[in-house]
Symmetry: C5
Subunit: 86 residues, 5 copies
C-alpha cells in the first residue's frame, strides 16, 4: 500500500456506468522517493481533505468493492491514525 | 487511476484481432512527479483531444470492456469535469 | 520481490473490515535506484523494526493470506537472514 | 499500453518450457519521462527492428496468447502505422 | 520482461511456508533508464551469479510455478544466450 494525503476531490460526470456513485479523490504520496506522486483513488470510507490514508493499488483495489467488474486500480483502504507519527 | 490529458490519437492497422474496433489515444499524465509520462489508453467513451481524463491501468482496465480476453492495460474510464480545478 | 528494511508501524483504526487484525509496517526499499522508496506492507510473520525483509507486491501479495478478498498490494513474505550480506 | 520502438532481438535457449517458440524483442519506450526505458516483450505479430509498436504489460499481456499459463508480462499487441505522427 | 544480471543470492530462513524450497536471487536491471534497479526474483532454472536473465514480474510470475498460491512477484524465466549482444 501507499501512505498518501488526500488533497482534492475529482468530479467526472461522463464516466463508465459501473463507476456511478463512486467518490474519487486525488491523493499525494507521502515520504520516500515517490513523495509528490499523484494518484486518483476511489474512496468508499469518506476520507476528508488533508487526512492521511492508506491506498491500495492494482487488482487488489477491486477487492474493496462488492463487485469484481469495476475498472478501478486504486482505492483508499484505511485512514492513518492522527497520532501515528512517521 | 491517473489524471491525464488526451494529446493524440494512435493508429495501428496491424494489431491483435481482439483489438479491432478499439480506439487508442495517447495521454499525458497531469501533476505530481509523474507529470509528462506518456500512456497509450483504449478509449470507449469518446474523449476528445485536450480533454482531461481518468485512466485506469493494469488488469482493471479490462473491466471496462465486455470481454475479458483483450490485451489492454490502460483505458479511459471517465472525463474530468471542465469546472473541476486541481 | 523487493528487499526492504522495516522502519515503522502504521496504525489505522478506520479501515476496511477485511483488514481488521492485519499489522501494517512501513518499509524502505534497499539498494539500487529505488533505494528510499517507501511501501506500506502487511506483515503476518512478525518482522521487527530494523529487520531486512522480502516484500511481495501486486496481486501475488494476496496469496500470503488465507482469503482472496483482502485489499492489500504488498506483504512481507520473508525475513532476510542476518548473515546474508549484499 | 506503451508506445515503443523495437531495437533488438533477445535469444534465450535455456528457458521455461512454456516459452519455447516465442520470439522475444527488446523495445525502447518512446516519449515522455519514461523515454529510454527498456522492456523485453514477446512478439507474436512479427514486428521488425526499427518499427514502432504498442506494448501491453502486466497480466493483460497473457491475453495475447492462446494459453493462460505462460510467464510473460509484456507483449507487442500492434504495430503503429508509419504515417502516424506523434 | 526485464533483462537483468544475477548479482547475488538471498537467504531467508523465516519465510512463508509456500516459499520453502524456492531459491531467491538478487538481480540488477540492465540497460535503459531503469538500469541499476534491484529486484529479488525466484529462480527455478538455476541461473548462476553473473548470468544475464529474463525476469518476469507481476501475476505472470506465478505461472512459472506449478502452484497458483505462492506469493512471488518476480521469477527468472530464461537465461539470455551468452552470444546475444545488446
Amino acid at each position: 500500500m501507499i501512505a498518501a494525503k488526500v488533497i482534492d476531490s475529482i468530479w467526472s460526470t461522463r464516466k463508465a456506468d459501473s463507476l456511478i456513485g463512486l467518490k474519487f479523490t486525488m491523493v499525494e504520496v507521502l515520504g520516500g522517493i515517490d513523495a509528490g506522486r499523484i494518484i486518483i483513488a476511489a474512496d468508499t470510507i469518506s476520507a476528508g481533505i488533508g487526512e492521511r490514508v492508506l491506498v491500495c493499488t492494482g487488482s487488489s483495489a477491486r477487492k474493496m468493492l462488492d463487485r469484481e467488474d469495476v475498472p478501478i486500480d486504486a482505492v483508499i483502504v484505511g485512514i492513518i491514525d492522527e497520532d501515528c507519527n512517521f
